[in-house]
Amino acid sequence: MIFVFLLVLLMLIAAIAASIFKDLISAVIAAALVSLIAAILFYLLQAPDVAMAEAAIGAALVTVVFIIAIRRTKRFEE
């Protein structure tokens, strides 16, 4: 149980970090971490299908898309 507690805490911290980072790449990585932890939580909640989808789509593909977009725009928040 404490494990879940820590995971959730970490997830929320990652989410807050995503909002704080000025470097958008870091923010995106933090968001990816959120997704990843969410995937683990999905797994813990007995939803393997969703966990797979979240990991493959939410954590991986979305991050790639974000990074491409950031490369084509601006890396740092003003």
Binding site: M1, F5, A15, S19, S35, A53, F66, I70, T73
Partner: protein, 119 residues
């Protein structure tokens, strides 16, 4: 502590939703706002899945014959979340492509500066 025990997933889910909303409300940068939307999306998905969870349940897959049907978690929220994830990705991809075009036009992604369409 038992409260946390019961509601930790809800707390996590709504934590994500509100952090996401907060980012959208407060941040200036479009990419940041899109990140906020995606975090919000994840939060909603987590909430849906945790609604369907049953204490001590198993995944709704009859992979072996001896699995008890009565202990399976609800499959419907999982199906919904699958749909929601894909929809989320679709919105995100479109948003980012718009962000790229916006940057080409305005040279900035600061939403407080992009105010040509108003009044």
């Amino acid at each position: 502590m038992s409260f946390l025990n019961h509601y930790i997933y809800y707390i996590g889910a709504f934590g994500l939703i509100f952090i996401g909303l907060y980012i959208v409300l407060v941040k200036h940068n479009l990419i940041k706002v899109i990140i906020g939307l995606s975090i919000m999306e994840t939060g909603v998905n987590l909430f849906l899945i945790s609604i369907g969870y049953i204490k001590g349940g198993t995944a709704p897959i009859f992979s072996t014959p001896e699995i008890e049907a009565a202990r399976m978690v609800d499959p419907v929220p999982q199906a919904l979340v699958l749909t929601a994830i894909v929809i989320g990705v679709a919105v995100l991809a479109l948003a980012l492509s718009l962000a790229i075009r916006l940057y080409q036009h305005y040279g900035t992604l600061n939403l407080r500066k992009i105010k040509e369409q108003r009044w």
